[in-house]
Symmetry: none
Subunit: 149 residues, 2 copies
């Protein structure tokens, strides 16, 4: 999908929720589009956005990211180094999401799958335990860290 189309699409989503596409928000989105492969921190995004819209404030960047995250347009990542990273959300489903935790760099990503339902049913019938929630985490090495274990 082209940048123009994506922006129009996001504008649509914003308007559906009674929010506006402002030049500041557009600048933030453009920066995220330009860095689809990286995980930018709020400060990174702020610095980059200032080149497109110099008067923008850091608080606005945070507020934009917060809103975009709420609308599922942006995904927030935690690396455990004290700051959050943001990226455009390419995946949509969030229902059955589990965590993939890298033992080397600490990155936490998500994996979606509903296979757990099968196990949940098994638990219910074999143990007479009524499952209301679960927590599934995988530990191992992410693509980047596999290279230098």
């Amino acid at each position: 999908m082209e940048q123009k189309t994506i922006l129009a699409d996001i504008r649509q989503q914003l308007e559906t929720h009674e929010h506006r596409m402002t030049p500041q928000r557009e600048a933030v989105i453009r920066v995220l589009l330009q860095h689809r492969q990286s995980h930018l921190s709020a400060e990174d995004i702020y610095q980059n956005t200032k080149e497109l819209f110099p008067e923008i404030g850091l608080a606005t960047v945070y507020r934009s990211l917060e809103l975009l995250e709420k609308l599922n347009i942006v995904y927030k990542l935690e690396y455990g180094d004290g700051q959050s990273r943001y990226e455009l959300n390419h995946q949509s489903e969030e229902h059955y999401h589990h965590h993939l935790i890298c033992l080397k760099c600490g990155a936490i990503s998500e994996f979606n799958d509903d296979l757990l339902e099968t196990i949940e049913n098994k638990v219910a019938s074999e143990s007479n335990f009524k499952v209301t929630d679960h927590c599934l985490r995988f530990f191992g090495y992410c693509a980047v860290c596999q290279e230098d274990i």
Copy 2:
């Protein structure tokens, strides 16, 4: 493994790296042992540790957790809510052995199943993440507590 054994084991690891087992560190570890099923924040751990060792300072809790994490005894998790969570390293838990945790009486029972392998393979092929371990917990109500929810 019993609590006493675990503590002796950790003491050994500390000494190997020229660190000491102090009453403060022991208190922190005891709290983590008492809450193996939860993901405690530093503040949670601080509050609980104060019951075992009232004079402890929050900074000491942070320093203990930092050290224990470096020694791979504690694992630090990020959930994106602005604070880190800590838990004892799950590594000792058996691979095909999951926990059923009752939300009412707190009973922890076990459930054995290898269905997760299917998901692990999926993770590996779809996410390019090399899984070395996992942790699966089910939350809900045990047979007894289902009767009076």
